[in-house]
Amino acid sequence: MDCRVVINSLSDFVDRGLPVDEVRLVEEHLTGCKRCQTTRDELDGLRRAASELPLHTPGPTLWLRIRAEVEAELGNMRAETPTEPASWWRRLWDRKISFTLPQFAGAGVLAAAVMISGGYLIRESIAQKQTISPRDAAASLLPPESDELLKRQISEFNSRKVTWDPTMRADFEHHIQQIDQSLAGCRGNLERNPADPIQREMYRVLVDEKIRLLKDSSRLKW
């Protein structure tokens, strides 16, 4: 074997990566070639020395820099983690509400189930002919502080709304209007049937939703 060919195979040779027949040829050449033997020994020495290189140490401030950055990052992550689920208004504002086809189908089934069971309960309550006056029912629906809060929020909003972006204002008013229409419907139903538990529950939910919408909107930067 020629020295040049052997030299090119020596790295693989010291790494034990040559096929057996090539190993034999290289070994034969090395037996009679002092210079190639030296090169082999040097490459092997390099390989060994490289695997035993000591570790270096960075400057003492590196950890301080890393810690500061990590803590800032962890702080941001904690701040971004919502403590309570975002309201539908917030999700709507952030455009995070989306539905897939199966979700729509599921929602349809759920709505049908609610309507059927609601109708059944209404009929049951009529049959029971409970006698609760509309005034008692309205009084028991909301605690006085909710009513106060609602009035205060609405008053603040009416004075601030004029500065809003027109599209946002239209969206907001549309949602408020929808809630108000539902509330009016509930009130009418309750006047006809004050003991209806579903209408009472719906009324409370709608009022809570209206308060939450007003609160959320007040926190947003317009």
Binding site: S11, T39, G45, A50, L74
Partner: protein, 188 residues
């Protein structure tokens, strides 16, 4: 978890889990265990102290972001090591550092040096001199040499990391060793 509690007894996996939940003591314990390895690899790859410190910092920031995805299927050291190598290689790519070109057969265009050309032999290898010589290698040779000979990766792994063939990895390693041999001989 305090640093003393985490100093030696706790496994890397447990520390990683705790750090992923935001436990700074656990993260510091992981740093204490591995910062020198990460820094040494970065320093040898880029051959620049400031750059190596910046890269080490970036690796540990990456680490805290990715710890949540560490499932313990491989050793933590292997995972961290791979994270470091990938980060440094990404740094090279961003900087536009080109690895040496090779032919399809894996040969670099430059002719191989043959030992018989030089009468001197390489002295007993001084580790500091070897580190300095490694720093003088072109980035492509340096990467292959460090990954294979210093860090102990197989050629298949090196080829995978660098996006080259196994033949290229072998060829560049040989060239790197021959160049180092030459550089170390010149010192005498």
């Amino acid at each position: 978890m305090t640093v003393q509690q985490t100093s030696s007894a706790t496994s890397d996996f447990d520390l990683a889990q705790a750090a992923a939940r935001g436990d700074m003591e656990a993260f510091e314990a992981l740093y204490e265990r591995y910062y020198r390895r990460v820094y040494s690899l970065c320093l040898r790859m880029v051959a620049n102290v400031t750059e190596a410190e910046d890269l080490t910092q970036e690796v540990f920031i990456q680490l805290i972001r990715k710890l949540g995805s560490f499932r313990g299927e491989s050793a933590f050291t292997t995972w961290l090591h791979r994270l470091t190598v990938n980060h440094v290689l990404m740094h090279f790519r961003k900087r536009g550092v080109r690895l040496e070109k090779t032919t399809d057969e894996g040969d670099v265009p430059e002719q191989a040096e043959v030992g018989s050309d030089r009468p001197q032999t390489m002295p007993v290898i001084d580790r500091i001199a070897l580190d300095k010589a490694i720093a003088q290698l072109p980035p492509g040779y340096r990467s292959v040499f460090l990954l294979h000979d210093v860090e102990g990766y197989e050629h298949e792994e090196v080829a995978d990391m660098l996006g080259c063939s196994v033949g290229t990895s072998k060829s560049q390693l040989h060239k790197a060793r021959m160049r180092l041999r030459q550089l170390l001989t010149k010192k005498t």
